[in-house]
Subunit: 497 residues, 2 copies
Amino acid sequence: MARRNALKVTRAENFADWYQEVIDAAVMGEPSGVRGCMIIRPWGYAIWERIQRHLDDMIKETGHENCYFPIFIPLELIEKEAAHVEGFAKEMAVVTHHRLAASEDGTLEPAGKLQNPLIVRPTSEAMITNAFARWISSYRDLPVKINQWANVVRWEMRPRLFLRTTEFLWQEGHTVHASPEEADEEVRQMLECYRALAEDFMAIPVIRGVKSEGERFPGAVDTHTVEAMMQDGRALQVGTSHNLGQNFAHAAKISFLDKDGSQQTPHTTSWGASTRLIGALIMVHSDDDGLRLPPRLAPQQVVIIPIDRDESRRDEVHKACHDLAAKIKGQVFAGETMRAKVDDREMKGSDKRWGWVKKGVPLVLEIGPRDLDNGVVAIFHRDNLDAGTQSTPVEDFVANLSQTFETMQQGMFDAAAGYRTEKLITEAKTLDEMRAFFEKDQGFVRAKWCENVETEEVLKNFGVTVRCLPYDQSDTEGVCIVTGKPATTDAIFGKSY
Amino acid sequence: MARRNALKVTRAENFADWYQEVIDAAVMGEPSGVRGCMIIRPWGYAIWERIQRHLDDMIKETGHENCYFPIFIPLELIEKEAAHVEGFAKEMAVVTHHRLAASEDGTLEPAGKLQNPLIVRPTSEAMITNAFARWISSYRDLPVKINQWANVVRWEMRPRLFLRTTEFLWQEGHTVHASPEEADEEVRQMLECYRALAEDFMAIPVIRGVKSEGERFPGAVDTHTVEAMMQDGRALQVGTSHNLGQNFAHAAKISFLDKDGSQQTPHTTSWGASTRLIGALIMVHSDDDGLRLPPRLAPQQVVIIPIDRDESRRDEVHKACHDLAAKIKGQVFAGETMRAKVDDREMKGSDKRWGWVKKGVPLVLEIGPRDLDNGVVAIFHRDNLDAGTQSTPVEDFVANLSQTFETMQQGMFDAAAGYRTEKLITEAKTLDEMRAFFEKDQGFVRAKWCENVETEEVLKNFGVTVRCLPYDQSDTEGVCIVTGKPATTDAIFGKSY
């Protein structure tokens, strides 16, 4: 086990550099040469596909249908949106030409100037809301519940793989309802999907809550959020669900003829999650040996490495590996067929083993002639590398595998919940105490707050934001940590990614 | 059955208008207001997801991994490609700015001019080939077999939903191999996947073959293709698989250190299929009542409509519908759980029925109180609307369902193969005879050909191209249909979409 702490940089030394090294070591992604745009390599993309498939199933089970809107948005539609949405983001890619032509020196240059420039979608919100106005005329057309998986572009000045990229992949759900109650129910239901995705599938504990006025989605009535804490104590928003009230419907002139013959304005919602989830996954679970994947999420749960230096027993060893893989794949964990593969590349066994450790595969097995003779398999447990090789009878290993995964999944959740509890501070009662905490440490401060939007500006001066007003309220009286005036809510404060 | 011929335009009257009406009537897609870009509505997207999932499974089973490359390509990379690729397409969207700013009159205008314009990818070929050069250094790195599902943009002057759109969805596979034999095997294997997708899943018969020099992918050594015939006799290329030889590897400077210590240039391939497949689906199977879907592909295989005007028996009828749906979903067809739903919207039963007929659902059922009393279900068979309602005992219906689907799937394939046989002409022996045929009719002409690229220009004068040199060759001698000189191959000629 000479190679423990396989990464060159540890979390304690430099969290940002460590983050980048986890990605490199797991071969998950890399810069593309196009500013802020990443290449997602197969291991990173397989993780995204796992997340996507699981979330997509939940989106469909809750009665939503997928569809697809164009990559381009006419400038005039953006203008309309900008006029009524305050915090309108202006950093977006603009298409001005539709052709390349050879210039006099033989290089290519833009030609075929468009009369009206097109915007590469930062979201399809404007296009979709616009389509709703065409599609909806009667209460019979409601509810409309659609979702889109797509790439979106927001020009990013300080890009970071998976966390902040100019192009990223996401899903955006958009719904229209006849009543405010139904819209509220929708928004909470989708937040529950994000909670389930984070906690039950990705083993990431989250705090559910509502955003403050200063952090709310521009134009929304309410933004619900699930907030996770990274190992460095900073917050990352894992998914958000917006109740847009009638604001967007009014602006886009969506209306419907109600049962009683009156013309009504419906209530809309939107909700989304993105490849940032992979950033959260890395920062919550990985260690100084690289990525760690919870078994439910892992694209491969077991990798089997044949130890085949002894040519005379090579075939026998390989056969045993493939037999075991087949046996594993015949079993079920968490409602899915187990995922296992044999790594029979021509490469040193220890290089393979550490490659898979750095990719975060839950269990790496080795089988050599001696193991065959003894009916055992050598197990490296990604969650307990200190234990080294654990030699286990094959039959026991297979019989206990589902339970082993269950324990690992729960163990990873508990570990993340553990450091979050440690870094969740409730002692700070004044602004000075809060500032003092964030000057020397990172974490969440849970305290009373008066909800005054001006106090959010005060907090921003030392890099802190209101992460959310948690669903789980104490309902006790007290004074605001910023102003000392009577408080109206419990709030979670923190520094965010 | 008063509403037979539910569409306003028939195939015979105007095939192009009929095509558009099938899409409208099935609510599959619509123009977006952005020139050439479509909105894919839930029914159209569900069909795409079925195609995508099935093809993706085959791509993974054959050892490929998915990944993701950026939407933008630097202009210089395109320039490099343009320099060595002859038939370089210039119609592409160019991003020149990364910000919107308010102008003096309050409208938004492009700002933040980019030093180097970016191209919205017409394919990721250039980016991927460029990445291969970074990733590959030794024979141990080979083969590389990756695939990407993405949106791509090619400025389209005469757009048509699903068939020719400025933005479309597709997959592009890219592989690198040490030997030419391996590359050839790869290209043929992926063509077989496209054949299986078209024939076995979508019930679309195809002709497998190799493209002529004039129709080959620019820079490719060989382009393999599967060609389908639409009901109007025109050809549509369903999938293509390119053997790029060492041409792209040379241009991108990809090389590897071989086992013997020598530096070698590898062989690359690429292969793709797109949302055009949906255009083919429509034009092969639909009739004058709208879309028809083969059971293996259909997002819903059975829709059950409760006939519930009698309030006193409403609950009982609905329960029976849901019970039957559950029973159907408990069964398996072609390796998948069957897909069924109850349509309990508040709407006239006959409107529902014709809505599903136009969407192409294989079986539409109705259950009312009388059916309950008699233990039967009323069946509308999408493939045999002339038969009207077929009243069948529920138990028989369920017991025979898998066989019913099998028969429908095969029946749709046979019908398509049938009209293709009718429209495949082998009598034409001279250019005049071929021209005479295409002047009055559409279809495929199968004839001898000399493979001279100049003859392809002659054919283009009357709108005909060489669709492929079929795998299935007669290996007999003869004279070229264009030149009268000795022929070197059998070829399929036709007009294409």
